[in-house]
Symmetry: C2
Amino acid sequence: MKGIELIPVEGFPEVRPGDDLDALIAEAVGGTLRPSDVLVVTHKVMSKAEGRLVDLRTVEPSALAKGYATRWGKDPRQIEVVLRESRRVVRMDRGVVISETHHGFVCANAGVDASNVPGEDTVCLLPVDPDGSAARLRGALAGRLGVEVPVVVSDSFGRAWRFGITDIAIGVSGMDPLADYRGQNDPHGYPMEASVLAVADEIAAAAELVMGKTDAVPLAIVRGYAYEGGSGTGKDLLMPPERDMFR
Amino acid sequence: MKGIELIPVEGFPEVRPGDDLDALIAEAVGGTLRPSDVLVVTHKVMSKAEGRLVDLRTVEPSALAKGYATRWGKDPRQIEVVLRESRRVVRMDRGVVISETHHGFVCANAGVDASNVPGEDTVCLLPVDPDGSAARLRGALAGRLGVEVPVVVSDSFGRAWRFGITDIAIGVSGMDPLADYRGQNDPHGYPMEASVLAVADEIAAAAELVMGKTDAVPLAIVRGYAYEGGSGTGKDLLMPPERDMFR
């Protein structure tokens, strides 16, 4: 097996609502991107280009949002946005809301984030359809550069039982996000157990290592990973409710 | 920021209890390892060298193990081993035991694994002290090769709410497993939120991409990651009980 390179794409401009993100990304990766690379994009540039920003001055918090925010010293308007982005609350405690978003992601504060967003009263939401955003970008890059690569849209999620956040894949296009070893034998000839690997999540985590939180590097190229193609999406990385032991 | 290389270390021999793992690893990475690399080692070679294998023919299952195994078509001896490796059961359902190990990891089947182990009646346990194993190897490599690098011991864990397993760090020595951006400002001048990154987990996940499940590549070198040194360990990646919303 050959090695893998993780290549940060630097010098990317600040993205504003309505910007032509496909053009900006094509320009940024044009000299570098090769067939068989995987392109990882943090969701925030997609959210911004897609106008998924909320001016909190326009938000009227509900009684629930007001009460919870007051109790924990939070901004009631931000709690209100989190509740609106949720279809099910899993835990509400210590000022945090762990919920299932309309996409099906279970995460803190429904992915609503006030970091790396211009304006004190602005928060950033997840893209409406991260898989769709990934597919659109993949097609646009194929058209503009003649290079078709899988696209992974990443975000930083917390984890139950473990401290610290890691980047995961919230949108995937052009590769199978899972590597399924079930039914294969290990080197000793015994069947592999519990061996479906969430490789798109591992790719997102790997890419984060060259992005950094404060460095404004929203793009990374993963070169040398022998992905499986296919029509899989980020939805394949959601635990099916009937197998979920932690609903 | 420069890129990162993920380098698989191939041709590693099958490890048996009592093998001199330090010598085997020093020989395998000797020509390649450089200062400022990070070495990732799957726990399984450490567990094997440390004799953390259990012959199920020697295990007398408890009534709980027998009843649960019968109900779900599992091996009662293996369930018994899982319960012995646990200090607290979090969920028991669908033939799986989610428990907290004696180390404090919350994972499926207490890390007990029958894959990649020789012998049909043999299972492999986690190392008794993965941080200690990492520190010992780090010291041994410094002594044998004159190169001191952080060591990350990895295992594949499932996640609540997400499908598929990813590699995480169960033992760490020589680097801070967390990158803490709290108190720093984002490029817009606003304070970063929720920004403690579990970089050792991301390093383990990245390394898995060049290891593969069936390829018998238990070692990978991560080159070019600007880690922070320090005395942190894998224990820093456990959610403190008082902050754990999912006990």
